[in-house]
């Protein structure tokens, strides 16, 4: 998909150099217990600020349960 990525089945704008942390900011995902996968591969928490998301990627940001 040109200029887009999919995050939890939602299509959003992509930009060059966009990192996992940027995706979280765009999505306003502030919860801490997250599993993040780019095209099915886990990205470690320590790598979120640097790992870049390729154009057209399918990003899953899985929120584990807590609270409730």
């Amino acid at each position: 998909m040109k200029g887009k990525i999919t995050v939890n089945d939602q299509v959003i704008d992509w930009r060059d150099g966009m990192t996992v942390s940027d995706v979280l900011t765009v999505m306003n995902y502030t919860f801490k217990l997250l599993v993040i996968q780019i095209d099915g591969k886990n990205v470690k928490r320590d790598d979120w600020p640097t790992a870049t998301v390729p154009e057209g990627a399918d990003v899953k940001v899985i929120h584990l349960m807590s609270g409730g």
């Binding site: 940001v61 807590s66 609270g67």
Partner: protein, 729 residues
Amino acid sequence: MNIGEIKAAHKQVTRWEYQPGRIDKGYNDRTLHIDLTTNKITEKPVTALMKDKFVGGKGFGLYLLWHATRPQTKWNDPENEIIISPGPCAGITQYAGAGKSLVVSISPQTGGIMDSNVGGYFGPYMKFSGFDAIELQGKAREDVIIVIDGTTNSVTIETAPKEAIDSHVLAEQLTEMYAKDEKDKMNVAVVSAGTAADHSLIGMLNFSFWDPRRKVARLKQAGRGGIGTVFRDKRIKAVVCKTTGIKPNWNNVVDLNAIVERGQRFQKEIKELDDKQCEMRDKGTAHLMEIMDAYDLLPTTNFRFGKAADIGEDINKIHSNVLKSLFNLKWRDLDGCWFGCAMSCCKAVDGFELKTGPYKGHKVTVDGPEYETAAGLGSNCGIFDPLHIIEANFYCDTYGICTITVGTITAFVMECYEAGILNKDRTGGLELKFGNSAAALELIHQMARGEGFGAIAGRGAEYMKKYFADQGWGDRQFLSDIAMVNKGLEYSQYMSKESLAQQGGYAMTNKGPQHDEAWLIFMDMVNNQIPSFEDKAEALYYFPMFRTWFGLCGFCKLPWNDVEPENNREKYPPKEAAKVPEHVDNYLTVFKAVTGRDLDRDGLIRMSARVYNFQRIFNIRRGYGLRANDAQPYRACGPVTKREYESRQERYDKQLVDWMGMTPEAVAKMTIEEKMAAHRTYRTDRYEKLLDAVYKRRGWTRNGVPTIAWLKELGMDLPELLEVVTPLQ
């Protein structure tokens, strides 16, 4: 008045002595029955069937209540009981969160079977004193206290004319009265209600635990469904339990080392990871405030919106950091509601000076606020003032009423006020607009005095929605749509409009809409992990069963998934990671180490399913528990008002296209009213489909009745259950 004078006014009504108990593998194998009408105290054996099929905790409560009552028994009939049972694992101190009790009774609010879980020391102390459960039945003629004294192996009923009724005073009076000295206060636990429980249907019970550092009796709440009202209707002021002190293996478990090993592993996780994850030790569940707001899930002005900004408010005013700054964190890692809980989430505000009510000017310790309290009494009432939340939290606790229920009731009457259904004439002068802190607090004080509009509000939202319509004050349908109540119980504090699975997690819950059976919002709405009806049904099968299990054994649910092992997410696929497999394994290990019973994950689910289905059938026996009782108010499901629709117009319009197959051009031509009607039809129908899928997965008929085949498969085809369900197959 000093303690000596108060005690001197006691008259002993009866005293009963018993043989000392000896716990074996988590059980005393006997329960205590107290009849307040006849003042007869007896013990009963715990049978093999009870242990096998009902386990303990909520299971014992349901079993004993079933046999003590008739299908027609009303909440205020003498034969209704309050049963407190801690479960076989309760009382161990080597694994975090193992001090919970379950309280069961016929609810004044719902008419169905209520269960409420609670921390504090009473449950474990009662067990150490020789009993796996206590049944409180009958009604006293005057105010009494019941004292279970494990140091002398005696139970007494005493008249108690001079004690306070409000919990923060009463718990301390009784702790002082029954402790030998300052050190011994740790060994005294008190269950009490409060003055609002005398005058409302929403009373709750406080379970104390003495805090030797603060030198106050802290309070944990069995909040939901009005059990405190039943307590006061029985003229019980308090139940006190006294023990000789904690022993490391009082439960006489099978394998203490296994528990110690898992406990230490878990403690290490808390120590190393909690600060990076949920900050439970700093903030308790209040850490969720701004998170819920960010995800559009924080109920704001009676569940209309999910964000502070929707009403021009600022979430930062009640941000978890603000609440944290008000907590006294000097003993941060020692704020557990039972010994050994490293999660230590019971935060407290010390030296809080009250500005209103009978204790105005007093400086008090306030337990909480937890997330539910802060959202219910705060954002849901449009009040973004932390000091208001703390004051209202304090008064709800000491008056013995549930903060969640009061929050949802107040939010409802505030919306009614703003919609013109209520006005100053009808509320006796209270200007119950959203955001009016003074009016909200006065409503609580009126509930405690049983006066004015507070006396009406204290009957609950189910009563009010009918009462207002009967008076001709408002449209019946609108009132039903906005009163956030199901089965007669008020909703707890999460927005469920955009999560179909959570709508089920609320409205299909046995006792009424509390999130403690299934909290699936993230899994459903944010992650989109359970897209089909079958996926949602599977989640609504698994999670309630899992959570039920905690309430059978005496565990707290928070240590399960409010911290996760560092490698949890790398090690397991996301759906599995959500279940925190290593913690599940800890629970299975600890359960076996306590009881000697082998258990795997499937066995755990089956164990819970037996009790879960029993509770469903118990409700059916009483005339509830069917499909009609699982209906939800439309506010839980979709936008009721134009303003709600407009606030999320882009989202809702898109759903008309994506979900309902309309063209953007057609949507553009529709009026808001037409769009809202389309949503209503679609969303209501979708919920019915969910009911079908969940009932099928749960082994129930289309009317929500457990099938005979399913009961047989579970080994729950007990004759008394078949008698209820057979005519309904």
